[in-house]
């Protein structure tokens, strides 16, 4: 009996490949190490307050990164998410403050504002999809169009003014805390669950991965490659629209210059660190969430321990490089 156990152990040892193990679980291990480090060295880390701060900060990144994961799963990329956030964040206050469309009932006008903002964001995503799928423009160029123009549109919408407001009905999505949990965290969790389920269990999820994994083969197998691309960019726009609303709700103000600035890079980083292949064909929502949390926690750890912001950015970059390199190594064998 003991004999069999030892041979089994030997076998496992021989087949254990440290690099591959790191490639698969590296990000999760890093997250664990960060937690342990903080528990020991960062003051007041193990408090609900800290958890809430981190979760609320990471929320919008995760929400945008969910859409980005799907886009990258098809082998594309969406640079326009930050600008779409700005448009959504500019449009909603314009409506519920009555600037463009006076509605007397505040509840109704907030509802209209939210729906309209997210709908417009989704349409902008569809525009990206049209450029990529129908016009066959490379995704990085196609989405660069709105990356550049989108923020301009947001500024034109608001005449470049800062919109300040105090509308609790709207700001509930950024500041509300049913059962002590921030509303945006609930929104994030719901979206994570839905997206993970879609990728794993649905025909659409399968189509995303097939399109990204081998577009020619997918097309020959009868998969509507064009429609899949339309859909993922629309979803990415939808996610960005929601994230835009949350950001302005938290800030009680909408500044077209700042909402979602640099978000595309944070989202792409989260997706990459999470283990989704940037060339497409393999995508994991859970990975993306872990990736976003890791990046967030690195930033938090450094700032909480007095490392200046500029240095924190460098460390963040180093972690992204390390994560992507490890995944490459894992794939080589």
């Amino acid at each position: 009996m003991s004999d069999t156990v030892s041979t089994a152990a030997v076998k496992r040892d021989r087949f254990f490949d440290p690099l591959e193990f790191l490639a698969r679980y590296g990000t999760l291990i890093a997250l664990g190490l960060l937690l342990v480090f903080n528990l020991i060295f960062t003051r007041n880390f193990a408090t609900l307050q800290t958890l809430n701060v981190n979760l609320t900060q990471v929320c919008t990144i995760v929400i945008v990164a969910i859409g980005m994961t799907m886009v990258i799963g098809t082998g594309g990329i969406d640079l326009s998410v930050g600008s779409i956030m700005a448009i959504s964040g500019a449009l909603a206050p314009l409506i519920f403050l009555g600037t463009i469309l006076p509605v007397s009932n505040i509840g109704l006008s907030v509802a209209v504002a939210m729906v309209a903002a997210v709908a417009v964001a989704t349409m902008l995503g569809l525009f990206n999809g049209w450029l990529v799928a129908s016009m066959r423009i490379q995704p990085i160029i196609a989405t660069l169009v709105l990356f550049i123009a989108g923020r301009g549109i947001a500024q034109v919408l608001t005449n470049g003014n800062l919109q300040v407001f105090r509308v609790s009905e709207f700001q509930w999505i950024g500041l509300g805390r049913p059962f002590g949990i921030p509303v945006q965290v609930i929104i994030m969790l719901v979206m994570i669950l839905i997206a993970a389920w879609v990728l794993r269990r649905t025909v659409f999820g399968r189509q995303i991965l097939a399109t990204g994994g081998n577009e020619k083969a997918a097309e020959l197998a009868g998969i509507p490659v064009g429609r899949v691309k339309f859909a993922v960019y629309a979803i990415s726009g939808f996610c960005a629209g929601i994230a835009g609303l949350i950001v302005v709700a938290i800030n009680s103000a909408s500044d077209a210059n700042l909402v979602g600035l640099g978000m595309e890079l944070d989202a792409i980083a989260a997706v990459a660190v999470g283990g989704t292949l940037l060339v497409g064909g393999k995508a994991t929502i859970v990975g993306t969430v872990v990736g976003a949390l890791t990046i967030q926690l690195v930033r938090y750890t450094l700032l909480a321990n007095g490392v200046p912001e500029a240095a924190a950015l460098v460390v963040q970059a180093a972690i992204i490089v390390a994560a992507v390199w490890l995944q490459q190594q894992g794939r080589m064998r």
Binding site: T202, R206, N214, A217, L220, A221, G222, L277, G281
Partner: protein, 510 residues
């Protein structure tokens, strides 16, 4: 041989990851001759050329050029030593002027500045030797493919090339353009420049080449004077078939005669681009129809038309007696067609997905409800096929890229069988597959046909077509040139049609 050769390569060996690509290959080019280099896919032509131009380092063998041992490390070095290559895809700079393209890398200077006047004159002079007078100041992309090719040749000559390698130069040219190219080749020859001409179009070889080297499986199998070798001999040497040899069974197919069912697909005078000019054929229930032909005969291109991947520009198709005109693969799939493509990696598998996911890719609508994949139905189906086809994998969830070629091919077959097709198109179904799996796949195809499936099989392996097919259509340069059925299918008849086309017997008699 009276002349000392310009180039002599002997005993060339080259392995990739232990697998020999060239073993004892040789090539000899005389000064001022046009030499054809031919062979099937994977025969080693391109490897041989890449060894010569320094793109690959040879493992063994000697190369001498102009009487000197020849050792280069890159195509660039080869070019400065007098060997220029003109590739299928012209590698010039389309946005720059003709002059710049011709003189790139050897610009003439005066007082430290570029001497444009001298360079324009030089470009014009070089092109004039081919009888081409164009405005050399205009960007290259303003001109047609043939002219661009002339510019590429002029560039090669400008580097005072003594040997020009042309890799399938005529594949994108129309007849008039080919004539111009041949004029240039004859001009080169008159100037004492040697040409290596790689092509699959037999008529062209006879028109312009002096000698031919035939390669097969990494070896040089035959060197001959062009006017002393008949087309049939050429094709048999290329395919490794002895025309007179009575052959035993080389495949898992048998020759039993079978009753024919009703016609499933009928195609009349299909046309599309340069590759498909006039192809007609029909496939019936329970029948394996073989497409035979040399590389570039238009077999795969025809299959792509039938499956709606590319559009036809002429001709018509009928499926079960009704007009059939697929606009995209989805239409073909809905009409009951399946297509196992030639290139598994490029057009078949989705490497990061599992065996199960790959297998059900065309079947997603049927195994899902409201857009949700039914795991139960998927497992049932996939496990059924894994067992039925004997697919060796650790389970339905193993990634397909970890499987061997033969097992990947079985998964792809299962992908289409699962859709219950009426007509299955197989493009090189056993290429790159080990012998055991090959036999299994051949037996399976036969069994499926016996059960009523119509099969259209493209294969470059002659015995697979001859022994496997109930009816064979021979394609040659985009046209159906022969239809053979039952007893009439034999290797020499197929070879004959591949070599000569329609006007067969007369030419052979002469």
């Amino acid at each position: 041989m009276a002349q000392t050769p310009l180039l002599s390569m002997t005993g060339i060996e080259k392995r990739f990851a232990g697998i020999p690509a060239l073993s004892g290959a040789s090539l000899e080019i005389l000064p001022g001759e046009v030499h054809a280099l031919i062979g099937q896919n994977g025969a080693g032509k391109s490897t041989m050329i890449k060894v010569l131009t320094g793109y690959h380092r040879r493992d063994a063998g000697t190369v001498s050029f102009a009487g000197q041992p020849f050792e280069v490390g890159s195509p660039h070095e080869a070019q400065s030593s007098g060997i220029s290559t003109i590739y299928q895809e012209i590698n010039l700079v389309p946005l720059r002027s003709v002059t710049e393209n011709i003189c790139l890398g050897r610009e003439q200077r005066r007082f430290g500045l570029l001497d444009w006047g001298a360079m324009h004159a030089e470009a014009e002079r070089l092109l004039a030797t081919f009888g081409i007078g164009i405005d050399v100041r205009r960007p290259l992309m303003d001109f047609n493919t043939a002219t661009q090719q002339m510019v590429a040749i002029a560039r090669a000559i400008g580097f005072s090339a003594r040997l020009v390698i042309m890799d399938e130069p005529t594949s994108s040219l129309d007849e008039g353009e080919v004539a111009v190219l041949f004029k240039v080749i004859r001009q080169l020859k008159a100037d004492g420049v040697s040409v290596i001409f790689v092509s699959h179009k037999l008529d062209e070889l006879y028109e312009v080449c002096d000698r031919v080297t035939i390669m097969r499986d990494g070896k040089t199998v035959r060197v001959a004077e062009m006017d002393k070798i008949a087309k049939l001999e050429l094709v048999s040497a290329m395919l490794g078939r002895d025309v007179s040899r009575a052959d035993g069974h080389a495949t898992a197919f048998d020759d039993a005669q079978r009753p024919k069912g009703e016609t499933v697909l009928r195609a009349r005078n299909l046309k599309a681009g340069h590759a498909v000019r006039d192809v007609s054929f029909q496939v019936a229930r329970g029948e394996i129809v073989g497409f035979a032909g040399l590389l570039g005969a238009g077999r795969t291109e025809t299959a792509r038309l039938v499956f709606g991947v590319d559009r036809t520009t002429g001709g018509s198709m009928e499926l079960n007696g009704r007009p059939y005109d697929p606009q995209r693969p989805k239409d073909a799939i809905l009409a009951g067609l399946g297509f196992v493509t030639e290139d598994r990696k490029l057009e078949g598998i989705v490497p990061e997905l599992s065996v199960a996911e790959n297998m059900t890719l065309s079947l997603l609508p049927q195994i899902s409800r409201n857009g949700v994949v039914s795991e139960g139905r998927q497992r049932e189906l996939v496990e059924g096929f894994i067992e039925q086809l004997g697919i060796k994998c650790s389970g339905p969830n193993q990634k397909i890229r970890e499987l061997s070629g033969g097992n990947q091919q079985k998964v792809l077959l299962a992908r289409w069988l699962a859709t219950n097709p009426r007509l299955l198109i197989l493009d090189e179904p056993t290429r790159g597959i080990d012998v055991g799996a090959k036999g299994e796949i051949q037996r399976l195809v036969r069994k499926l046909a016996d059960e009523g499936l119509a099969v259209l099989m493209i294969s470059s392996e002659l015995e697979e077509v001859v022994e496997g097919a109930d009816r064979v259509f021979v394609l040659r340069e985009g046209r159906t040139v022969a239809e053979l059925e039952g007893e009439a299918i034999s290797e020499d008849r197929v070879l004959d049609a591949m070599a000569h086309g329609l006007s067969t017997r007369t030419e052979q008699a002469s």
